[in-house]
Symmetry: C2
Subunit: 151 residues, 2 copies
Amino acid sequence: MDDAARERWLEHATRVLSRAGLRASAGRTAVVELLARDGGCLLSAQEIVRALHARGDAGSNATVYRTLETLHGLGLVHRLDRDGVAHYEIAQPSGEHHHHLVDEDTGEIVSFVDAELERVIGELGRRLRVELTGHDVILRGRRVENASQHR
Amino acid sequence: MDDAARERWLEHATRVLSRAGLRASAGRTAVVELLARDGGCLLSAQEIVRALHARGDAGSNATVYRTLETLHGLGLVHRLDRDGVAHYEIAQPSGEHHHHLVDEDTGEIVSFVDAELERVIGELGRRLRVELTGHDVILRGRRVENASQHR
DNA sequence: ATTCTTGCAAACTGTTTGCAAGCTC
DNA sequence: GAGCTTGCAAACAGTTTGCAAGAAT
């Protein structure tokens, strides 16, 4: 996700919050701005609390949780549970999104986009007679050197 | 998942546990048998604890958590976090598995199987140069009456 | 001025762990 | 008999909530 996209999200989020009658208070603003800066991929509430605190920004534990719940309710962030901990990431208004691959060896998380996967999921919704409002795909695996790199 | 499949899993699990040098103790056995009976789709640890307790079977809180961790480590169950709570279900040795659709209106969970989806995920692993060891797909949506049922 | 929001601290829930007693191999 | 397992209770981590003080409109 590029800077422009995150900047777009920030404006979008600010507008949506304001239209919902919510105030641009210090804590809430700090959380939203932090997400616009670093929320491209799976931040936990605790990570956000620590990051805000490190910067000296407003945003207590309670405020961060409350804000994330608000943002999620307004569809401004996606939420994904990982190892029993909720993680959040920016939800682009365009619907553009990515999925995640967890490297079983390192625990590292790689994000990817795949049009074919999206197509199949769309078809699946039709087959199951459901209007899809969202979906998550998590792959787990280990890197494999490609043939040309074999010794 | 049919009775035969669950029975197969029970035998498989028993063998794997025994080969791992683990004893057929009361608590562990009760958890495994409960899973073989009701573990077709997403049971939480707490649900298992309550179910065992209701039956008067062995299996304290601690034992259930410890057993589930053991089973997961041996690849005998799949684990999926849902609303911040870990849920487990039987992992068929054949690799046969299903995915989940959450009805946004009722919260109900429907499981489904889709060959096309599996195919695309397999390809995705190749494209990302990863040997896939597992994957989860969660769809969210609301039921839609099909055209012929419209008034 | 009114109403929303914050931060703190206490309360909760799900999960993990130390330890002495009990059970399995 | 040796060593793995159990159950209990205490400890933990993440998350939620009540409330009085403070800030935004």
